[in-house]
């Protein structure tokens, strides 16, 4: 089966640091792929590379087999790649609703009328409905994370890149989040999820990648990867619960 989104030989250097150092990665239609790895492993940088936040130092990114390496972030979003940011980046001067609506119109190519209903639906789904008319700048961290997810969903993605969206949630909130992501998966959305909270991640993913120092350390069935000696070693000091 052809990968929906893939990267071959991906390298991203910041000065002398190779934050992503020769990564091959692929996610298939409808699949949920997990990514774990210690802080600084290059996970977030990998998302930036896939979403087109910056130019790559080397490598090729493909969507449905066609190279999209040269496309800017906005075009990639229009083609169906959506990401959340690990540190939320809301549009502070817009309301919560407007944050989501602008994504629905720009990335999702919805017209004005359709975008209102879609945005409202997504706000309900992500638990932000009651805050719709609040300025995004007034939100706390957890609601800002919800807004990241809501905004990404509003762009009508085919593949959703989630970056540590579960951090800081209570168990009950985590349960809701897992249910929401499973629901999205059931709708056919392809998911790549970077997460430290393994028990939540493992409820969702079909396959797991472990990164360390810019490289893929291990890849495969979640339980196999978690049992890998190298993976355990990489996680020492950043205990996976």
């Amino acid at each position: 089966m052809q990968a929906l989104l893939s990267g071959q030989g991906l390298v991203k250097s910041f000065g002398r640091l190779r934050a992503v150092d020769g990564v091959d990665i692929a996610v298939h239609p409808g699949e949920a792929l997990g990514i774990v790895g210690p802080n600084g492993a290059g996970k977030t940088t990998l998302f930036g590379a896939l979403a087109g936040a910056f130019p790559l130092s080397a490598g090729t990114i493909r969507l449905d087999g066609a190279a999209i390496t040269a496309l800017p972030a906005a075009r990639r979003c229009a083609l169906g790649i959506a990401r959340t940011h690990q540190i939320p980046r809301p549009f502070l001067g817009l309301s919560v609703f407007e944050n989501v609506q602008v994504a629905a119109r720009a990335g999702g190519a919805l017209d004005a009328d359709a975008s209102v209903g879609t945005a409202a639906g997504i706000l309900s789904r992500t638990g932000l409905h009651d805050l719709a008319n609040r300025p995004a700048g007034a939100l706390g961290l957890l609601d800002r994370k919800r807004l990241e997810l809501a905004r990404a969903l509003a762009t009508q993605p085919r593949v959703l890149l989630l970056d540590e969206i579960g951090g800081g949630l209570t168990e009950a909130e985590l349960e809701q989040l897992v249910a929401l992501i499973l629901g999205l998966k059931a709708q056919g959305l392809t998911i790549v999820w970077i997460e430290h909270i393994l028990h939540a991640l493992l409820q969702v993913i079909d396959r797991l990648v472990c990164m360390a120092q810019g490289r893929v350390l291990a890849e495969g069935a979640p339980q196999t990867v978690m049992a890998d000696a190298q993976v355990r070693a990489a996680y020492l000091g950043s205990d996976p619960e």
Partner: protein, 330 residues
């Protein structure tokens, strides 16, 4: 429960718009009764409102802080001089010149909009100086001396005054109405998203360059129109004045005191500037310095300007760009 929908514009805002419409009609009829001097002042006010709306569009809604908008004010005047020289009537030239300036701004956008915030601001100032230098080479302009649009003198003074007044009134109202519609639509939301976080805006599909270029070019044309209106009332074009930094000082002052990123801020700021000019305008360089200092003071002490203060007291901004969803509190 009904389908989620956008709430209609608040009653207060609708009343404001109706009053603005009524005011516009009164202003259009004013020349029938008002003395020439008052008409001249109001012409100037219209030009100030136009300039302030443009700078607010750039800095307040798109995050494009330019200290070189005089580049387009001056270029507008110069383009009008050249068009008249080429045989066009002064009023057609006045209207056409901003379109020519837009043609210059379009490719320029490609260079300057790639720059980061501070670099963009400075680059615009450098560009204004370069334009001024180039225009001074034109033998028609004769360096510092400048040139006059003598064709304007051929028109009877009262007719000319009335025409320029009405044009300035139309220009200011069109800038206000146009930006209101623009900002409340998709483009406005996208511009504000870019202002708040350009990278995040791109990540949700906003074509950041396209949006910024549109606003940049529109603001260039608006500033050029202010330049041609100014020239039409002053008759003489001098590079030092046309491309003068005072335009930017005025724009900064009006937008910062009125309220950066508020719709009514530029109007309030323009009225305030006219008032200051009436009181202290004779103090020359000191006046300009005072206006600058006051802008800085406002930026530091009252970042939302006077409209921000008003909104804080009232609990909401008059003629706000925020679109509210039917359900949900807050």
């Amino acid at each position: 429960m009904t389908e989620p929908h956008l709430l209609p514009m608040p009653k207060g805002d609708r009343r404001l718009i109706l009053s603005a419409g009524a005011l516009l009609i009164l202003l259009a009829l004013l020349p029938l009764v008002a003395p020439a001097q008052a008409i001249d002042k109001l012409t100037q006010l219209g030009i100030y409102v136009l300039l302030a709306v443009m700078w607010n569009l750039l800095a307040g809604y798109a995050g494009l802080v330019s200290v070189g908008q005089q580049a387009f004010v001056g270029l507008g005047g110069y383009a009008m001089v050249r068009l008249v020289e080429a045989g066009l009537g002064p009023f057609p030239a006045l209207v056409l010149a901003p379109f020519l300036v837009a043609l210059v701004a379009w490719p320029l956008a490609w260079f300057v909009l790639r720059l980061r915030l501070g670099e963009f601001a400075i680059a615009m100032w450098v560009i204004a100086e370069v334009f001024r230098g180039l225009v001074m080479f034109d033998p028609l302009v004769q360096g510092e001396t400048g040139t006059s649009v003598l064709a304007l003198n051929a028109i009877d003074a009262d007719t000319r005054r009335l025409a320029i007044y009405l044009l300035s009134l139309v220009a200011a109202s069109a800038a206000l109405a146009g930006s209101f519609v623009l900002l409340r639509g998709r483009l406005g939301a996208e511009a504000q998203a870019i202002r708040d976080d350009e990278e995040a805006a791109a990540s949700v599909g906003v074509s950041t360059f396209r949006v910024k270029r549109l606003i940049f070019v529109a603001a260039a044309a608006g500033c050029a129109l202010a330049g041609t209106l100014w020239l039409a009332s002053a008759i003489t074009f001098q590079p030092r004045t046309g491309f003068g930094i005072q335009w930017t000082v005025f724009m900064l002052f009006m937008v910062l005191t009125g309220g950066l990123g508020t719709f009514l801020g530029p109007v309030v700021g323009a009225v305030l500037l006219m008032g200051l000019q009436e009181a202290f305008g004779d103090f020359g360089a000191w006046y300009l310095f005072g206006v600058g200092a006051l802008s800085v003071a406002f930026a530091l002490a009252l970042p939302g300007g006077l409209v921000g203060l008003w909104s804080a007291r009232r609990g909401r901004e008059p003629l706000s760009m925020r679109r509210r969803l039917s359900a949900g509190e807050g």
